[in-house]
Structures are given as C-alpha cells and as structure tokens.
Amino acid sequence: MQYRYKIAGGDFSNAGAVASSVKKTLRQLNIDHRLSKRIVIALYEGEVNVVAHAYSGIIDIDIDHERIKIRITDKGPGIVDIAKAMEEGYSTASTQVREMGFGAGMGLSNMKKNSDSMQITSEPGIGTVVELTTYLNGNEG
C-alpha cells in the first residue's frame, strides 16, 4: 500500500496529522502495538522537523508484508552537517518552536532509535530527504 501526504512548513496546528493518520492505518492492519508506536513516533518527529525547520514537504509511506518505508522529502534550508544535527542536544529551533515544547535536539536521535534503518541526505539551500525503514517481523497487513 502506498500513501502520500503533503505538509506545510510552519503549520503547527496540523503538525502530527500525518502521524496520527498512519497510526490509525497501522491499527487497522493489526500491526503489533509496540512496533506501531515506534514507527509512529519516528514519523511524528520527522513530520515536526519539516514543520519546524523547512518550508514544505511530502511524506511517502509504502507498506508491504515485510516492512514499512517512510520517505520525508522537504524543500527547506537543508542540513549542512548531518553528523552534528544527529547529536543529542544540538538544535537550531527558533524561540517560537521552543515555546511549543520542541527544540531539545532529540528528534533525529529518537527517529534513529525508533526505526530499523534511517538515511538522511541533504542539499543545503534545497532540502532534505529522510528515509526510515522498519521491519514488521511477520505482522503483515
């Protein structure tokens, strides 16, 4: 199954709507609850990152028997030093974003922890692509 969602940078009132929708889909597919929680949390962090740090984005979800692949593609400032961005505590979040409870610099590491593999590619000034894959170990849809 494939799903595509669009997200707008800065639109905090809808931030998390994609993760929420995917959460419901995974429940319908009877994916193990703990597994689906990991997937949804990684996706949510990625979705919020686009809203907080980029201008617009597209989320592609591809689910089959074996795994779920999530690709988050955004237009935005990109990430110059990915290794640094991955460090816990590193954040360039604005004051406005921090006031909402984000900006601890934990999102990317949380995404890595909650997925089986994560790949980031970025072109400064153009945008970022984050790909997350998680295996469904027999809990097929």
Partner: protein
C-alpha cells in the same frame, strides 16, 4: 453496592489490588476540573510524569501514564496521542482553546485543569501514591 458506595468501592479496589488511582480522584486531589472526556474519568492511573519537553514525552513507553505539564497547546495533545498518554493535567489554569479540547476529545484524552503549579501537582500526586516513571 449502589450509587456512591459503588464509586467508593471501585476506588478501594484500585488502591488495594492495582495500586492505581481513578482519574476522578486525581482531579479531586489537585482542585482539578475535568474539561473533556468525562466518560473516561473512571479510568485508572498508575504512573505520572511531569514535562514541558515534547521529545521527553515521546520517550514514554508505559500505558496509562498521566502527564503533568505547564504547556497548553495542540502539540501537547498530538504528542500525547503518539505516546498513548490518556490523561493530561494542565497546571496553573492555562487557557485551553476549543481546538485543543476538540483534538483531545477526538483522541479520548482526559484533560484536567488545575490551579496548582506543576511542582505542587506533582507533590500532591506523589504523596498520594502515584508512581514516578523515572
């Protein structure tokens, strides 16, 4: 075993057998007002966690955890939805707009407003036997 007695009995069984507390009892200990999902206020709480940091909330793995926070925004509700948190206490009577209440209602999350600070709410509930997560 009818009416009020029944409620008291449930409260008693929660304490003795599960070491949990009813959400309604939580509210009464902190001068709290249940703002939405009253029908779920008969649920039980065993653990609580105080935080204003969404990435911290996203690390909560246990179910039936109560979140105590000073933030009153949509992100707290969304983040709680992701972490399967089913009850949130908003400290210092922060204004909850209709959008926030609507999202909480859609997700079956009980919202409680309390005039107390995060510190005092945490203290009262800890004293009453609610367990810390960390």
């Amino acid at each position: 075993m009818h009416g009020q007695n029944n409620g008291l009995l449930t409260e008693y069984f929660c304490k003795i057998y599960h070491n949990t507390m009813l959400i309604t009892e939580v509210a009464s200990k902190i001068e709290g007002r249940v703002v939405c999902c009253e029908n779920k206020a008969a649920g039980e709480v065993e653990y609580a966690f105080s935080s204003d940091l969404m990435s911290d909330v996203l690390k909560v793995e246990r179910e039936n955890v109560l979140l105590i926070t000073g933030l009153a925004n949509l992100q707290v509700i969304r983040t709680s939805e992701m972490s399967d948190i089913n009850c949130i206490v908003i400290a210092r009577n922060k204004k909850l707009n209709s959008e926030i209440i609507k999202l909480a209602t859609e997700n079956g999350i009980v919202l409680i407003e309390s005039p107390y600070s995060v510190f005092r709410i945490s203290g009262e509930l800890y004293k009453a036997g609610i367990k810390p997560l960390f």
